[in-house]
Symmetry: C2
Subunit: 653 residues, 2 copies
């Protein structure tokens, strides 16, 4: 398999798909090339829009004598005039669209794709429409699976795409995903979704994607078949779709319609082009473009549609790198009511649980509130759950601060000092709900931007969590802070936070990150700190003089040192806090190499991208510290790429 | 005065501002031209971005010997190389920025602007910062007003901009707006807002704009001084700002920053340019642009920033034409938490009341739900208020239908027939709340797109209205509809709705549009219909055989015929349903001319853009029917442009 993941956000990823004709960065869009009459010349696809891979139709190529002969003689690449990677569809969509079986057998079309040298060929699956009953969907899936197995046996060197069908029946989709995922296929399209997109049934689309993704191996690239409107790209990418394909750019252009990130408009309806793409810039106003010759107008609109579509693809990739993909999804949802319903469909317990299992530990940019949906993001769910499940109070009195204190402000240190001397627990009332004072620098609490007034739905989420959190203090006193007392505290103590407070912070962080017992192991003995000369903030954490961890400025979390990893391994039962390798790959890590995902035998299922883990060999000996690029549970599902980056290794230890 | 309004949405408008150097379509952006060193050549401002007017600084021109000499000799246009309209600032911002008075008297700088031939000169007002107390703001306002009066006396042929100050004190802003509005000035800037924008205090910005606009004459163009980031354009335009000015494009470019519709990003932070503007298209990736020579990078970023800024201006103008400006504002608010707070600030009773007074009757596109804020739009407020205040039940029993029946579907007509035969009231439960069955085709009820799940805040608005609406049925029966009964009704009755139902619809519409008593007047006698041969839907309404009104397909409202206007005038006390003119301009209308706003003596304060009104002379004789382009109350505040379009006139009657 030739797919690896380089970066993560939400359940989306930046991937690299390797083919014989070059490597493709995902998520990406495969423009559909009509072999009979391309609206935009394939060469322009690369030059003007940065397309890296295209898709064309093997069924159409095969049907025409001239095209078939040429494709068989010269190969598909020369036939369509594209020297990069080529995927082909198989006629499935035609059989759906024209409502009759196509005149070629499933095996013949696979063989034909092989013969013309496509990079990724597609099986001839059965397009199960949303109207099909569960029984019909199951029967059609049986036939799709029969064809998939037959195609896998025949694929030889060709990369093969085998499609997940199942209609709108979540359990049938799940069954299909498990069955397809078990086969030796290279790309997994999610099929049968065009009618859902045409009818703007985005909630159903989200359910179908999620049901499929949840049961597919993480390491396979997923293609959302027929998704050509940028409206669905951010949501689909956030749910883990890697490839899209678009004939929409050409179809809409033919109808005189403009694709926009938030919808589609007829050129006839608009007076001023709000779009700033090079094509719209060239025409300046809609009237002039309307007056153009039909062929010229059509190709101008097609180019506009491609600019907008590829712009959204680049925006998605940048949002993944920024750790801000949910923000983009929610922005787009605020532009289309049916996308709002799709976000509601993601709020279910099963859905959020799966999304949390992929959500990175922190993002490069701040957590930005975009509306009520933001409070349902998996990162907040994790924060809330961990504070309820992993944090423990030390006292019988909880003092609630009405807002986050400014760090290093006058009186702050004195306040923390008082906090330690009183022995009480202090909790800060944040927009995300009550957070223990010592954890409020943690991502996403401190690294967030909220409005002053939250939406009512967001307040409900906060209140539900708040009720769960304060169970920690059942039968105890929960008191509002006396701010006058805070103000009066001696300002001369400022700038350095007391060691006792930092010890409490580190203990709470260790348990927050690695679960109960982690603090006791990692921080056993006398805990001391090395501080930043400038700010006085803690940088390094020592236990009995040994450097066990550092505090990451970016997200307020602990990064592990190898001695800390050893302490965690000693204190916690396997596989907690660990990535386990066989001894040979472990020896590479000991020498400083990264942890390749395919060598991972087992890993703590709680590890998330961005977490540090102890890398151990078969005897549970620590050979290094790895910073996870993937979630622990999905590492064994990858056959390529890095599972965790080596941040410290035993050899130099 | 040389400003007229051509189209409306929210409290925003498309305007035409006439100057000696050409006419400008508003809302628009005036790029700031630095006379010493323009980052982008002024000629490019027109050619590349479509700028129609620029702003430069008269204080800077005057300070340099060379520039001053040249400007006095050749005029400001030649000096900066721009032959279109030029506005100049006066040094106010410099006195704020450098925190010291500038070395020129307020009168001198006005005289200088006149001498160099600027199109719109600006007074040297006192920049009142947000930190100033109310007393300080009042004292500074006194000085600004003194200077404004002095400048007005000296303006001669030059158009003059006199700035509303007052800091963040709403009542001082209101006082300032009344005082400036009473002077003979041509443009009204809202000043002192740069610190609010720099600190993202958009709720305060919205309050300041609203306080100013509420007390300024509608007919004056309003300039939001220093607003150069597109982030604030949609909100400010929706509150009635017509002009913006931007030095931001150049300042941000100098700092290596990219303006985006939803914020600002450092070029250093990004890997892929998500932007599709011609400049970003040229560079394709951020690394390449970073490697460019500093001067080249700066000017590329400046051009990018201008593409994005002018793109947003065009988008706003198109949104006004579409009647979809609130949608755009809410989309942008979903991209920035501080803008969400600004929308919350607009929910107050005073705020919505003022906004409703400008909100057009209907929009060209559907009402699109964008989140909880959508339910607070003034159009919904009007719908709710009118249904509570103007609609009356006919019975003691209210049957609540769970959803909107599909018109002309099987059984629909039978249902309506049953409705009339029972004598009950039927009410439809819509996302906007309960709507009487006969009014549910009304804009924005039928012309709306909602998600299936409303936000909790939106549900609260709906429930509060619902409680008020059902007061109509206090002491009566409110029952859910028996849908089985509906289904069983004879389908053969379908397609034509019964006359009795249409009579009820017309009566409810008349009262909804013109208030109590309107139906009794307009529809006295035997009411009959002319129907569409195709759909069977009502087109024309006759009372005793006279064509009194038609049903507008676009928004489901009545348009008046002149006989209907006469009946309304006979039935309703003046000035209800009327626009009154003096006899001479009334005679023009009688001949078919439009109603020019400046001739309007009085008009029904309830008339909104899109409403039909009776145009009457001094003796209350109807001379025509006018379709309002402006709200009735604001017509007398305009000195140019059309107040209402003539749709029928007495001469041909």
């Amino acid at each position: 398999l030739s797919f690896e993941v380089k970066d993560r956000a939400a359940a989306g990823r930046i991937g690299r798909l390797e083919t014989r004709h070059g490597t493709v960065t995902t998520p990406t869009l495969l423009p559909v090339i009509n072999p009979n009459l391309p609206t935009v010349p394939p060469a322009d696809m690369k030059r003007l829009f940065g397309a890296e891979m295209v898709i064309t139709n093997s069924y159409i190529l095969r049907k025409s004598d001239a095209l078939r002969e040429r494709a068989l003689r010269e190969g598909v690449h020369k036939t369509i005039g594209w020297d990069g990677p080529v995927m082909t569809d198989s006629g499935t969509f035609q059989s759906y669209f024209y409502k009759k079986p196509i005149e070629v057998s499933p095996l013949e079309i696979v063989e034909f794709q092989k013969k013309i040298g496509v990079d990724v060929g597609t099986i001839l699956d059965v397009f199960t429409t949303p109207e099909k009953t569960r029984e019909e969907a199951v029967a059609e899936l049986d036939e799709t699976m029969r064809r998939a197995k037959e195609a896998v046996a025949a694929k030889n060197g060709m990369m093969l795409a085998a499609t997940v069908q199942g209609g709108v029946h979540v359990d049938v989709r799940e069954q299909a995903a498990r069955a397809i995922g078990a086969l030796d296929v290279d790309v997994v399209p999610i099929g049968g979704v065009v009618p859902l997109m045409e009818q703007a049934r985005y909630a159903d689309l989200a359910r179908v994607i999620l049901a499929s993704k949840r049961h597919l191996p993480s390491g396979k690239p997923v293609h959302l078949f027929g998704a050509g409107h940028p409206l669905v790209f951010p949501l689909a990418a956030a749910l883990g779709c890697d490839l899209f394909d678009s004939a929409s750019y050409a179809k809409f252009a033919k109808d005189g319609r403009m694709i926009l990130p938030n919808g589609t408009r007829s050129l006839d309806e608009v007076e001023e082009l709000g779009c700033i793409c090079p094509e719209c810039d060239r025409w300046k106003n809609a009237a002039e473009l309307r007056r153009a010759a039909p062929a010229e107008r059509e190709s101008a609109l097609a180019r506009h549609n491609l600019h907008v579509s590829f712009g959204e693809i680049r925006r998605i990739r940048q949002a993944i790198r920024d750790g801000a993909l949910w923000e983009l999804v929610e922005e787009r949802a605020a532009q289309n009511p049916a996308l709002l319903d799709a976000l509601v469909a993601l709020r279910g317990e099963n859905e959020v649980t799966w999304l949390e299992r992929l959500e990175p530990t922190s993002g490069a940019r701040a957590f930005q509130y975009r509306g009520a949906h933001s409070m349902h993001r998996p990162g907040i769910r994790r924060l809330h759950n961990r504070l309820v499940e992993r944090w423990r109070p030390r006292s019988k009195t909880c003092i609630v601060l009405p807002e986050r204190p400014k760090p290093y402000a006058e009186g702050y240190a004195a306040y923390l000092d008082a906090f330690m001397r009183t022995g009480h627990d202090f909790v800060v009332d944040t927009p995300m709900g009550p957070i223990p004072l010592e954890l409020e620098r943690l991502y996403p609490v401190a690294q967030s931007v909220f409005p002053e007034t939250l939406d009512a739905d967001a307040r409900l989420v906060r209140e539900a969590y708040s009720a769960r959190f304060f169970h920690h203090f059942d039968g105890c006193d929960v008191l509002p802070a006396d701010l006058a007392e805070y103000e009066a505290l001696a300002p001369e103590l400022c700038s350095l936070t007391p060691d006792a407070f930092e010890q409490r912070r580190m203990a709470s962080l260790a348990d927050y990150q690695y679960g109960p017992g982690a603090a006791a192991g990692l921080l056993a003995g006398q805990v001391t700190f090395k501080r930043s000369p400038g700010t006085g903030g803690v940088r390094n954490v020592f236990a009995d003089g040994v450097h066990v961890a550092s505090l990451r400025a970016r997200d307020g979390l602990l990064s592990l040192r190898i001695e800390g990893a050893r302490r965690l391994v000693a204190a916690l039962p396997s596989p907690r806090a660990r990535i386990r390798l066989d001894d040979e790959p472990a020896s590479f890590v000991r020498d400083g190499k990264n942890v390749m995902a395919k060598f991972v035998v087992a890993a703590d299922s709680q590890l998330r991208p961005g977490d540090d883990a102890a890398v151990v060999d078969s005897k549970d000996a620590v050979v290094g510290v790895g910073r996870c690029q993937l979630s622990g549970w999905e590492m064994p599902q990858f056959q390529r790429g890095i599972g965790a980056k080596n941040t410290e290794h035993a050899k130099d230890d």
